[in-house]
Amino acid sequence: MSSLAYVVADTAVIAKRNLLRIPRQPDLWSSFTIQPIIFVLLFVYVFGGAIQTPGYDDYVDFLMPGIIVQTMSFGGFVTAIGLSDDLRKGLIDRFRSLPMARSAVLGGRTLADVATNTVSLVVMVGVGLLIGFNFSSTPLEVIAGFGLLLLFGYAFSWVFAFVALISKSPEGAQTLGFLVIFPLTFASSAFVPPESMPDAVEAFAEANPFSTVVDAARALFVGAPAGNDVWAAVLWSLGLIVVFAALSVHRYRRAVSS
């Protein structure tokens, strides 16, 4: 077998292993099903009434694309916790002592986490439809939107893989993850229009790649003016994947279990 064939085969073995684990860890499910639902209900029924979203009849139409993007990025926590756990328990040591492809442990992990992100996506869309969200674009655009969201979620799995590899424990990875992800998701166009923010924050929100992805999702789901957002969102996602995959694999080669 060529070395590329080994990369594919080893990645598949690790992905299968991580998929097998999903139904066996029900305590993990809440992080990618119940938690996002709570966020939706909180924003629609608690904060929503006080948030002005010019151009949208209903806050839920403004919110859903944004909160689904947030949920996809939070999917990275599943990656981080799983990887951190493998490090702590010495499984990474075992993998690194095997004649397997160096990228397969991370590649298989992030690939399997596309499955949990897909579950999240289905749950979020279902909840959104139940509380009055409407897709007002073509079916093709909606499908493209789902693809973009999963691509973005995949990119964040790589970001969080790196977070896990530089952290000492699952708890540390979680803390670091929140420090990265909270400012990024909230100081964006996901929950409120950036025009309502103070100038400095607005400037950050406009430049924030999160806003780009949220705006792209709005364009594809509810027909908001797209500009270059869709292509920019795809490029951002691909860029994150390339950069963080390289960083993570480099770090993995010398990872040490604690």
Binding site: M1, Y6, A9, D10, V13, R17, L20, R21, R24, Q25, K89, G90, L91, D93, R94, F95, R96, S97, L98, P99, M100, A104, K168, R254, V256, S257, S258
Partner: protein, 327 residues
């Protein structure tokens, strides 16, 4: 395979402020067990991590199965098996799934990998538990599975890092027998341990390691000769019998038995024939015995006799973690 399976010269590794390995030399001929004996933090785990390609050395050379651990790392990984002290099995997979996964990652192929997994589960008496998640396994079962995982590809060289730490005596004995069977089949083993009796039972040669240096090396018998072998401890019913007891037992031993606080200590020969004879003699001398014990030399005894101080845990693992945090 090379005649010398493990050949280490001048191995050094430093973690920021702690020297984990300070010029270590080790040799293990093919088909033998080399025991690495030392307290926590002596450098044992660092040595194993370097020899299994998990960590690069700062200086020195190490060849395993004829392959350099740095230059030939990728090729070497298919020649070694590693079982760690943390029993690295995936607890959300079944025993079978764990071994099958490892087989696939050694590139055995789908069919042979499954077959090998079943074979090993059978050999390690885990067939009944094969389809249970390993988080339901006992500590001993996990260690057995961990060792089985290290054996999946029938590697010519096996690294066992404190394989029996924390195991109950029965599981420990089972694991020892398995290791001996592997070596009888031609495998070379490097075993780290904190237990002198374990190194004594298993190892052909022992290297005693302390603060990153090999402070003594030899066969178990050579080392025990330097430490002194097993001792018989007799607790007398009455302190006043001490002189009579010493007189009665003096002819049995080369050196005169010592007595303190009613506890009489004498060196014992390997056959243990002395025990019955000692009891008989004390009985004849009408000395009452409250308790009888055989004391084996411990790791501490080895250290005291080799270095003059007891075995002190050092900071190897902590240092390794700090190093990574700083990097």
């Amino acid at each position: 395979m090379a005649e010398v399976a493990i050949d280490v010269e001048g191995l050094r590794k430093r973690f920021k402020d702690v020297t984990a390995l300070d010029g270590v030399d080790l040799v293990a001929p093919a088909g033998t067990i080399l025991g690495l004996l030392g307290p926590n933090g002596a450098g044992k785990t660092t040595a194993v991590r370097i020899l299994t390609t998990l960590l690069p050395p700062d200086a020195g050379t190490a060849r395993v199965a004829g392959l350099d651990v740095v230059r030939d790392a990728a090729a070497l990984r298919s020649q070694i098996g590693l079982a760690g002290q943390y029993a690295a099995v995936d607890e959300n997979l079944t025993g079978f799934e764990n071994l099958d996964m490892v087989g696939r990652l050694y590139h055995l192929g789908r069919g042979p990998s499954r077959e090998r997994a079943r074979e090993l589960l059978e050999r390690f008496s885990l067939t009944d538990a094969a389809d249970r998640l390993t988080k339901t396994y006992s500590g001993g079962m996990r260690r057995r599975l961990d060792l089985a995982a290290a054996l999946v590809a029938r590697p010519p060289v096996l690294f066992l890092d404190e394989p029996t730490t924390g195991l109950d005596p029965v599981s420990r004995l089972q694991l020892w027998e398995t290791i001996e069977a592997r070596v009888a089949a031609g495998t070379t083993v490097l075993l780290t341990t904190q237990y002198l009796d374990e190194a004594d039972r298993l190892a052909d040669r022992i290297a005693v390691i302390d603060h990153g240096r090999v402070i003594a090396e030899g066969t178990p018998d050579e080392l025990k000769d330097r430490v002194g072998g097993e001792r018989l401890e007799l607790t007398l019913e009455d302190y006043e019998d001490e002189p009579a007891a010493i007189e009665a037992l003096a002819p049995l031993a080369d050196e005169r038995p010592k007595c303190d606080h009613g506890i009489l200590v004498m060196p014992m020969d390997k056959s243990r024939a002395d025990i019955a004879e000692a009891v008989r003699r004390l009985d004849d001398a009408q000395v009452g015995i409250a308790d009888i014990a055989i004391r084996r030399p411990t790791l501490d005894d080895v250290f005291i006799s080799l270095t003059g101080h007891a075995a002190e845990p050092a900071e190897e693992e902590d240092a390794e973690q700090r190093e990574e945090a700083a990097a």
